[in-house]
Protein backbone atom coordinates (compact mmCIF):
# COMPACT_ATOMS: atom_id res chain seq x y z
CA UNK A 1 0.00 0.00 0.00
CA UNK A 2 1.22 3.49 -0.69
CA UNK A 3 2.56 4.99 2.54
CA UNK A 4 0.10 7.82 2.14
CA UNK A 5 -2.96 5.56 1.92
CA UNK A 6 -4.27 3.77 4.99
CA UNK A 7 -6.76 0.92 5.26
CA UNK A 8 -9.15 3.35 6.93
CA UNK A 9 -8.91 5.74 3.99
CA UNK A 10 -9.62 2.93 1.55
CA UNK A 11 -12.64 1.85 3.58
CA UNK A 12 -13.96 5.39 3.67
CA UNK A 13 -13.43 5.84 -0.07
CA UNK A 14 -15.12 2.56 -1.01
CA UNK A 15 -18.09 3.30 1.23
CA UNK A 16 -18.37 6.80 -0.16
CA UNK A 17 -18.23 5.51 -3.74
CA UNK A 18 -20.92 2.94 -3.05
CA UNK A 19 -23.17 5.55 -1.46
CA UNK A 20 -23.08 7.55 -4.71
CA UNK A 21 -24.79 4.63 -6.45
CA UNK A 22 -28.00 5.15 -4.50
CA UNK A 23 -28.01 3.92 -0.88
CA UNK A 24 -27.91 6.31 2.06
CA UNK A 25 -24.40 6.60 3.52
CA UNK A 26 -25.47 5.14 6.87
CA UNK A 27 -26.78 2.02 5.10
CA UNK A 28 -23.35 1.32 3.63
CA UNK A 29 -21.95 -0.77 6.48
CA UNK A 30 -19.32 -3.49 6.16
CA UNK A 31 -21.97 -6.19 6.62
CA UNK A 32 -24.47 -4.75 4.15
CA UNK A 33 -24.93 -6.94 1.09
CA UNK A 34 -24.91 -5.46 -2.37
CA UNK A 35 -28.23 -7.14 -2.97
CA UNK A 36 -29.80 -5.37 0.02
CA UNK A 37 -28.33 -2.06 -1.09
CA UNK A 38 -29.58 -2.59 -4.64
CA UNK A 39 -26.02 -2.40 -5.95
CA UNK A 40 -25.77 -4.28 -9.22
CA UNK A 41 -23.01 -5.39 -11.57
CA UNK A 42 -22.93 -2.04 -13.39
CA UNK A 43 -22.26 -0.31 -10.07
CA UNK A 44 -19.44 -2.75 -9.34
CA UNK A 45 -17.88 -2.03 -12.74
CA UNK A 46 -17.85 1.64 -11.81
CA UNK A 47 -16.42 0.85 -8.37
CA UNK A 48 -13.66 -1.12 -10.11
CA UNK A 49 -12.91 1.90 -12.28
CA UNK A 50 -12.67 4.16 -9.23
CA UNK A 51 -10.26 1.96 -7.27
CA UNK A 52 -8.13 1.35 -10.34
CA UNK A 53 -7.82 5.07 -10.99
CA UNK A 54 -7.22 6.03 -7.39
CA UNK A 55 -5.25 3.08 -5.97
CA UNK A 56 -4.04 1.21 -9.05
CA UNK A 57 -6.01 -1.84 -7.91
CA UNK A 58 -7.61 -4.01 -10.57
CA UNK A 59 -10.84 -5.82 -9.75
CA UNK A 60 -11.38 -8.52 -12.33
CA UNK A 61 -14.80 -9.82 -13.40
CA UNK A 62 -14.12 -13.08 -11.55
CA UNK A 63 -13.52 -11.14 -8.33
CA UNK A 64 -16.92 -9.51 -8.59
CA UNK A 65 -18.69 -12.85 -8.42
CA UNK A 66 -17.25 -13.40 -4.94
CA UNK A 67 -17.98 -9.93 -3.63
CA UNK A 68 -21.25 -10.08 -1.74
CA UNK A 69 -20.86 -7.39 0.91
CA UNK A 70 -19.36 -3.95 1.28
CA UNK A 71 -16.74 -5.50 3.56
CA UNK A 72 -15.76 -7.98 0.84
CA UNK A 73 -15.02 -5.09 -1.51
CA UNK A 74 -13.11 -3.11 1.10
CA UNK A 75 -10.98 -6.11 2.08
CA UNK A 76 -10.18 -6.97 -1.55
CA UNK A 77 -9.09 -3.44 -2.38
CA UNK A 78 -7.08 -3.07 0.83
CA UNK A 79 -5.30 -6.40 0.26
CA UNK A 80 -4.38 -5.55 -3.31
CA UNK A 81 -3.31 -2.04 -2.48
CA UNK A 82 -0.82 -3.37 0.07
Amino acid sequence: MSPTVTAEQIEARVRDAISTFGPEPDEVTRDATFEALDIDSLDLVELAQIVEEEYGVRIEPADMKDMKTVGDAIDLVAARAS
Binding site: L42, V45, E46, Q49, I50
Partner: protein
Protein backbone atom coordinates in the same frame (compact mmCIF):
# COMPACT_ATOMS: atom_id res chain seq x y z
CA UNK B 1 -35.70 13.99 -13.67
CA UNK B 2 -34.47 15.22 -17.02
CA UNK B 3 -31.20 13.82 -18.27
CA UNK B 4 -30.45 16.44 -20.88
CA UNK B 5 -28.02 18.62 -18.94
CA UNK B 6 -24.97 20.05 -20.67
CA UNK B 7 -22.07 17.82 -21.56
CA UNK B 8 -19.37 17.82 -18.86
CA UNK B 9 -15.78 18.67 -19.82
CA UNK B 10 -14.45 16.11 -22.23
CA UNK B 11 -14.07 15.42 -25.90
CA UNK B 12 -15.33 13.42 -28.86
CA UNK B 13 -13.65 10.69 -30.86
CA UNK B 14 -14.72 9.94 -34.41
CA UNK B 15 -13.09 6.84 -35.84
CA UNK B 16 -12.29 6.78 -39.54
CA UNK B 17 -12.67 10.53 -39.83
CA UNK B 18 -10.11 11.42 -42.48
CA UNK B 19 -12.78 11.61 -45.19
CA UNK B 20 -16.38 10.87 -46.13
CA UNK B 21 -19.05 10.46 -43.48
CA UNK B 22 -16.51 10.50 -40.64
CA UNK B 23 -15.13 13.83 -41.78
CA UNK B 24 -18.60 15.35 -41.95
CA UNK B 25 -19.45 14.03 -38.46
CA UNK B 26 -16.24 15.38 -36.94
CA UNK B 27 -16.93 18.81 -38.39
CA UNK B 28 -20.48 19.13 -37.05
CA UNK B 29 -19.50 17.93 -33.58
CA UNK B 30 -16.60 20.40 -33.54
CA UNK B 31 -19.00 23.13 -34.64
CA UNK B 32 -20.87 22.52 -31.38
CA UNK B 33 -17.75 23.57 -29.47
CA UNK B 34 -16.46 20.10 -28.62
CA UNK B 35 -12.82 19.07 -29.08
CA UNK B 36 -12.65 16.19 -31.54
CA UNK B 37 -10.15 13.42 -32.16
CA UNK B 38 -9.91 12.73 -35.88
CA UNK B 39 -8.94 9.07 -36.00
CA UNK B 40 -7.38 7.59 -39.11
CA UNK B 41 -5.84 4.27 -40.07
CA UNK B 42 -3.64 5.14 -43.04
CA UNK B 43 -4.73 8.53 -44.38
CA UNK B 44 -2.75 10.78 -42.06
CA UNK B 45 -2.74 13.59 -44.57
CA UNK B 46 -6.54 13.49 -44.82
CA UNK B 47 -6.99 13.47 -41.04
CA UNK B 48 -4.61 16.37 -40.59
CA UNK B 49 -6.47 18.28 -43.30
CA UNK B 50 -9.78 17.71 -41.49
CA UNK B 51 -8.27 18.81 -38.17
CA UNK B 52 -6.77 21.91 -39.78
CA UNK B 53 -10.10 22.83 -41.39
CA UNK B 54 -11.85 22.48 -38.04
CA UNK B 55 -9.23 24.64 -36.33
CA UNK B 56 -9.49 27.23 -39.10
CA UNK B 57 -13.22 27.40 -38.46
CA UNK B 58 -12.58 28.12 -34.79
CA UNK B 59 -12.92 24.57 -33.48
CA UNK B 60 -10.52 22.23 -31.71
CA UNK B 61 -9.32 18.98 -33.26
CA UNK B 62 -6.33 16.70 -33.54
CA UNK B 63 -5.53 13.81 -35.86
CA UNK B 64 -4.92 10.54 -34.00
CA UNK B 65 -3.61 7.51 -35.85
CA UNK B 66 -4.65 3.95 -35.06
CA UNK B 67 -6.24 0.99 -36.78
CA UNK B 68 -9.39 0.23 -34.75
CA UNK B 69 -9.28 -3.40 -35.85
CA UNK B 70 -6.19 -3.78 -33.64
CA UNK B 71 -6.92 -3.94 -29.88
CA UNK B 72 -3.72 -2.17 -28.85
CA UNK B 73 -4.35 0.70 -31.22
CA UNK B 74 -7.71 1.54 -29.63
CA UNK B 75 -6.04 1.89 -26.24
CA UNK B 76 -3.37 4.17 -27.67
CA UNK B 77 -5.89 6.43 -29.40
CA UNK B 78 -7.85 6.89 -26.17
CA UNK B 79 -4.73 7.49 -24.08
CA UNK B 80 -3.58 10.19 -26.47
CA UNK B 81 -6.93 11.95 -26.55
CA UNK B 82 -7.51 11.75 -22.80
CA UNK B 83 -4.15 13.30 -22.14
CA UNK B 84 -4.91 16.17 -24.47
CA UNK B 85 -8.61 16.87 -23.96
CA UNK B 86 -9.88 14.73 -21.05
CA UNK B 87 -12.37 11.87 -21.14
CA UNK B 88 -13.97 10.79 -24.38
CA UNK B 89 -17.65 11.46 -23.70
CA UNK B 90 -18.80 11.24 -27.31
CA UNK B 91 -17.71 8.21 -29.28
CA UNK B 92 -18.68 7.82 -32.91
CA UNK B 93 -17.74 4.41 -34.22
CA UNK B 94 -17.59 5.25 -37.90
CA UNK B 95 -14.52 3.44 -39.25
CA UNK B 96 -15.61 0.76 -41.63
CA UNK B 97 -14.42 -1.35 -44.47
CA UNK B 98 -15.75 -3.81 -47.03
CA UNK B 99 -14.38 -6.77 -48.94
CA UNK B 100 -17.22 -7.85 -51.19
CA UNK B 101 -17.72 -11.29 -52.62
CA UNK B 102 -20.39 -13.93 -52.79
CA UNK B 103 -20.57 -15.90 -49.54
CA UNK B 104 -19.23 -19.04 -51.14
CA UNK B 105 -16.12 -17.15 -52.13
CA UNK B 106 -15.33 -15.04 -49.09
CA UNK B 107 -11.96 -16.05 -47.70
CA UNK B 108 -11.28 -16.20 -43.97
CA UNK B 109 -9.03 -13.18 -44.22
CA UNK B 110 -11.71 -11.01 -45.82
CA UNK B 111 -14.29 -12.26 -43.34
CA UNK B 112 -12.10 -11.55 -40.32
CA UNK B 113 -10.90 -8.17 -41.55
CA UNK B 114 -14.43 -6.84 -42.07
CA UNK B 115 -15.69 -8.21 -38.74
CA UNK B 116 -12.62 -6.93 -36.89
CA UNK B 117 -12.96 -3.43 -38.30
CA UNK B 118 -16.73 -2.99 -38.40
CA UNK B 119 -17.77 -4.89 -35.27
CA UNK B 120 -14.85 -5.73 -32.96
CA UNK B 121 -13.41 -2.23 -33.35
CA UNK B 122 -16.59 -0.54 -32.10
CA UNK B 123 -16.83 -3.09 -29.28
CA UNK B 124 -13.30 -2.38 -28.07
CA UNK B 125 -13.66 1.39 -28.39
CA UNK B 126 -16.98 1.34 -26.56
CA UNK B 127 -15.58 -0.92 -23.82
CA UNK B 128 -12.70 1.52 -23.38
CA UNK B 129 -14.98 4.57 -23.32
CA UNK B 130 -17.76 3.40 -20.99
CA UNK B 131 -16.01 3.48 -17.58
CA UNK B 132 -15.15 7.17 -18.01
CA UNK B 133 -18.63 7.92 -19.29
CA UNK B 134 -20.11 6.13 -16.29
CA UNK B 135 -18.08 8.21 -13.89
CA UNK B 136 -19.03 11.38 -15.73
CA UNK B 137 -22.69 10.34 -15.68
CA UNK B 138 -22.73 11.34 -19.33
CA UNK B 139 -21.95 9.64 -22.58
CA UNK B 140 -23.01 9.43 -26.19
CA UNK B 141 -22.06 6.47 -28.36
CA UNK B 142 -23.16 6.52 -31.98
CA UNK B 143 -22.41 3.50 -34.14
CA UNK B 144 -22.48 3.93 -37.88
CA UNK B 145 -24.27 0.86 -39.16
CA UNK B 146 -25.92 0.42 -42.55
CA UNK B 147 -29.19 -0.55 -44.12
CA UNK B 148 -27.18 -3.54 -45.36
CA UNK B 149 -27.52 -5.97 -42.49
CA UNK B 150 -31.14 -5.41 -41.62
CA UNK B 151 -31.70 -5.94 -45.37
CA UNK B 152 -29.86 -8.06 -47.89
CA UNK B 153 -27.30 -6.98 -50.43
CA UNK B 154 -25.88 -9.88 -52.41
CA UNK B 155 -22.10 -9.94 -52.32
CA UNK B 156 -21.80 -8.32 -48.89
CA UNK B 157 -22.40 -11.14 -46.40
CA UNK B 158 -19.39 -10.21 -44.27
CA UNK B 159 -20.31 -6.52 -44.29
CA UNK B 160 -23.99 -7.30 -43.60
CA UNK B 161 -23.09 -9.58 -40.71
CA UNK B 162 -20.85 -6.92 -39.19
CA UNK B 163 -23.47 -4.18 -39.47
CA UNK B 164 -26.36 -6.33 -38.22
CA UNK B 165 -24.11 -7.33 -35.34
CA UNK B 166 -23.36 -3.69 -34.65
CA UNK B 167 -27.07 -2.93 -34.37
CA UNK B 168 -27.54 -5.81 -31.92
CA UNK B 169 -24.53 -4.62 -29.94
CA UNK B 170 -25.98 -1.10 -29.87
CA UNK B 171 -29.28 -2.23 -28.37
CA UNK B 172 -27.78 -4.33 -25.59
CA UNK B 173 -25.15 -1.82 -24.51
CA UNK B 174 -27.84 0.86 -24.50
CA UNK B 175 -29.88 -1.20 -22.05
CA UNK B 176 -26.86 -1.82 -19.84
CA UNK B 177 -25.81 1.79 -19.32
CA UNK B 178 -29.00 3.83 -19.75
CA UNK B 179 -29.31 4.73 -16.08
CA UNK B 180 -25.90 6.40 -16.15
CA UNK B 181 -27.17 8.95 -18.68
CA UNK B 182 -25.22 7.22 -21.43
CA UNK B 183 -27.02 6.71 -24.71
CA UNK B 184 -26.00 4.24 -27.39
CA UNK B 185 -27.57 4.50 -30.81
CA UNK B 186 -26.94 3.50 -34.37
CA UNK B 187 -27.31 5.42 -37.60
CA UNK B 188 -27.95 3.30 -40.66
CA UNK B 189 -27.13 5.11 -43.89
CA UNK B 190 -28.45 3.86 -47.17
CA UNK B 191 -26.87 4.90 -50.42
CA UNK B 192 -24.47 7.73 -49.58
CA UNK B 193 -21.91 9.28 -51.88
CA UNK B 194 -18.55 8.21 -50.42
CA UNK B 195 -15.47 6.37 -51.63
CA UNK B 196 -16.54 3.32 -49.60
CA UNK B 197 -19.86 3.08 -51.38
CA UNK B 198 -18.46 3.38 -54.90
CA UNK B 199 -20.05 0.80 -57.14
CA UNK B 200 -22.26 -0.63 -54.38
CA UNK B 201 -25.46 1.27 -54.92
CA UNK B 202 -25.81 1.89 -58.62
CA UNK B 203 -28.48 -0.77 -58.95
CA UNK B 204 -30.25 0.56 -55.85
CA UNK B 205 -30.78 4.13 -56.99
CA UNK B 206 -33.96 3.41 -58.92
CA UNK B 207 -35.44 1.92 -55.73
CA UNK B 208 -34.68 4.98 -53.60
CA UNK B 209 -37.88 7.02 -53.26
CA UNK B 210 -35.84 10.22 -52.98
CA UNK B 211 -34.25 9.31 -56.36
CA UNK B 212 -30.80 10.36 -55.26
CA UNK B 213 -27.95 9.27 -53.06
CA UNK B 214 -27.54 10.91 -49.67
CA UNK B 215 -24.63 13.09 -48.66
CA UNK B 216 -22.20 12.64 -45.77
CA UNK B 217 -23.54 15.88 -44.33
CA UNK B 218 -27.06 14.46 -44.17
CA UNK B 219 -25.80 11.50 -42.17
CA UNK B 220 -23.70 13.78 -39.97
CA UNK B 221 -26.74 15.90 -39.08
CA UNK B 222 -28.42 12.83 -37.58
CA UNK B 223 -25.29 11.90 -35.65
CA UNK B 224 -25.05 15.48 -34.37
CA UNK B 225 -28.49 15.16 -32.81
CA UNK B 226 -27.81 11.76 -31.25
CA UNK B 227 -24.51 13.05 -29.85
CA UNK B 228 -26.15 16.12 -28.31
CA UNK B 229 -27.39 16.63 -24.74
CA UNK B 230 -30.90 17.04 -26.16
CA UNK B 231 -31.00 13.38 -27.24
CA UNK B 232 -30.78 12.13 -23.64
CA UNK B 233 -33.95 10.02 -23.89
CA UNK B 234 -33.13 8.43 -27.24
CA UNK B 235 -31.20 5.21 -26.77
CA UNK B 236 -30.98 1.75 -28.28
CA UNK B 237 -32.47 2.90 -31.54
CA UNK B 238 -31.32 2.79 -35.13
CA UNK B 239 -31.95 5.91 -37.17
CA UNK B 240 -32.19 5.02 -40.82
CA UNK B 241 -30.98 7.66 -43.28
CA UNK B 242 -31.77 6.26 -46.68
CA UNK B 243 -34.09 8.53 -48.65
CA UNK B 244 -36.97 6.17 -47.99
CA UNK B 245 -35.31 2.99 -49.33
CA UNK B 246 -36.37 0.97 -46.29
CA UNK B 247 -39.83 2.50 -46.05
Amino acid sequence: MSGNGAMPEGCALVTGASRGIGEAIAKVIAADGIAVGINYRADREGAERVAAEIEAAGGTAVAVGGDVSEPGAVEKVFDELEERYGSVLILVNNAGTRADNLSAQIGDEDWDHVIDTNLSGPFRATRRALPKMMRARYGRVVNIASIVGPRANAGQANYAASKAGLIGFTKTVAAEVARRNITVNAVAPGLVETELSEGVGDHLLEHVPARRAGTPEEVAACVRFLASPEAAYVTGTTLTVDGGLSA
